[in-house]
């Protein structure tokens, strides 16, 4: 139609993690998401772009935000979105992951969005289906669209990612959000500082994750991590994953690592506060911080729809590469 229009070069079928994305691909997704934000502000919040495409949301773990966000993103692009949650599916009848995937594939979806408790489940499915597979969180491995929406939020607030100091506080060990964010932020040149109970900081993380043009390090105390931070990201204490006695009690965690006004004052005066949600008020974040003027927690949710629209458009928009 317009022979001069520049084209996107996202030559991949799936989005499984940030680890295998290039800096250029991340930039492309963020640029596209930036323009999709406008669609959500229209009176008629729908464009015909993915008309006739089918997106299946296959969630083996509970989720409100991510599942709704993917569903809204698909619907705003005019795709048909179907939601399957494990508790109401044939999984409870004993069907294996592979069989579930093969059966869904037989119904010819264009994209499968999957959340699973086991790391690597989306990769496994992507190898046996023709549909684009989008990882919506797998075990403690990756949650790529969360890192992308965090990056969009940081970029909009700080004008860029390179050189920005990001403190990530909490349970790094179990957090796929932290892992995807560390990949993305270091690739884009940010300075990442991690802090939390020693038992929840994975040893050797610096060696596992190539730092790109940015850097990642552990701080000895939460105060040290917060000092001079441009962005403070509090992670949710995953109550469902704390049976291992990683810290004495929630009260103890809150006293030592909870994000409150006093601690936030150590960061830069214009530092923004992020949280992937759902928040545990009074545990990892105080209400006056979560609801405060520097909290961008709801902006993250808003940006999440735009990022997921961009990912669906770039992966399921045209012919398969």
């Amino acid at each position: 139609m317009n022979p001069e229009a520049k084209s996107m070069l996202l030559h991949r079928k799936d989005l499984l993690g940030i680890a295998d994305l290039s800096v250029a691909e991340i930039g492309m997704i963020l640029e596209t998401a930036e323009t999709f934000r406008e669609v959500s502000g229209r009176a008629i919040k729908k464009v015909p772009t993915l008309r006739g495409k089918t997106v299946i949301n296959l969630f083996f773990e509970s989720s409100t935000r991510t599942r709704t966000s993917f569903e809204i993103a698909a619907k705003r692009l005019s795709a048909d979105a179907i939601n399957i949650s494990a508790s109401t599916s044939s999984v409870v009848k004993g069907e294996t992951l592979i069989d579930t995937a093969l059966n869904l594939e037989a119904m010819a979806p264009d994209a499968i969005v999957i959340r699973h408790g086991s790391s690597g489940a989306p990769q496994q499915i992507s190898r046996i289906v023709k549909a684009s597979v989008i990882n919506a969180g797998d075990g403690a491995h990756e949650h790529p669209t969360q890192a992308l929406l965090d990056a969009l939020t940081i970029r909009r607030a700080k004008g860029g990612i390179a050189g920005v100091r990001v403190a990530i506080i909490g349970d790094i060990l179990h957090s796929r959000v932290a892992r995807s964010n560390i990949h993305l932020l270091t690739k884009m040149g940010a300075e990442v500082v991690l802090a939390g109970p020693r038992t929840l900081l994975p040893e050797g993380l610096e060696q596992v994750i190539p730092a790109g043009t940015g850097s990642v390090c552990f701080a000895a105390t939460i105060e040290e991590a917060l000092a001079g931070a441009d962005v403070v990201m509090a992670l949710r204490i995953q109550l469902e994953r704390q049976s291992g006695g990683f810290f004495p009690s929630l009260r103890e965690y809150s006293v030592r690592y909870g994000l409150n006004q006093r601690r936030l004052a150590l960061a830069k005066p214009d530092a923004i506060v992020l949280h992937p949600g759902p928040i545990n008020r009074g545990i990892e974040i105080d209400s006056d911080v979560a609801d405060g003027p520097f909290s961008m927690i709801l902006d993250q949710v808003e940006n999440g729809v735009a990022v997921r629209m961009a990912v669906l458009y770039l992966l399921a928009g045209g012919e398969k590469p």
């Binding site: 596209t32 406008e38 464009v47 015909p48 770039l314 928009g317 045209g318 012919e319």
Partner: protein, 181 residues
């Protein structure tokens, strides 16, 4: 692919004259210019819409509202193009219901871009009327679409490409016909 230049259709001075004529035709057919919005289709329609607005301002001392439309999400060939085209922002000024919209584009060819633009406009409101202004009409329509304001009508062959070059995107300002070598 390499292209060879076949003909120069318009120089910068020709383009200026033609835009001046189109601007006066727009003024003539729209007695109430306060109701008119000039909406450029990205990319090259946008600076052309701005220029028409500028000419109208010089002529009638009225600043006509302008906007920009990105039709990427409304294209009918998305499932056949390999790479996903870059999506740009649509920027329409306020409510378009009841307004006269003049769509502005550089070249009118198959008419499919205009079809996409009409669909997108309708999603923003119900304009009183929609008109079309193009710098070059090169024929080969595939849809029943016509332009009210035409800078220059030229017969072309299907292999040829009409290139409108504007300083906003290119190094020179001219309209040329090129053909793949």
């Amino acid at each position: 692919m390499h292209f060879i230049e076949k003909t120069r259709l318009m120089t910068a001075a020709d383009m200026n004259r033609v835009l001046m004529r189109m601007a006066s035709q727009i003024v003539e057919s729209n007695p109430d210019l306060s109701d008119v919005i000039l909406v450029g289709i990205r990319r090259r329609g946008v600076p052309l819409a701005e220029r028409l607005a500028q000419k109208i301002l010089e002529m009638d001392d009225i600043r006509v509202t302008t906007g920009a439309l990105d039709i990427t999400l409304y294209r009918d060939d998305l499932s056949t193009v390999g790479d996903r085209p870059v999506v740009n922002r649509t920027e329409l000024p306020g409510n378009i219901t009841g307004k006269t919209i003049i769509l502005v584009d550089d070249v009118l060819y198959t008419g499919r871009t205009v079809r996409a633009a009409l669909d997108e406009l309708i999603d923003f409101g119900r304009p009183r009327r929609v008109q079309l202004a193009v710098l070059v009409d090169r024929g080969w329509r595939e849809l029943p679409i016509n332009a009210e304001y035409v800078g220059k009508k030229v017969p072309t062959s299907e292999k040829e490409i009409v290139k409108v070059m504007l300083p906003e995107f290119d190094e020179t300002e001219q309209v040329i016909i090129v053909e793949p070598e």
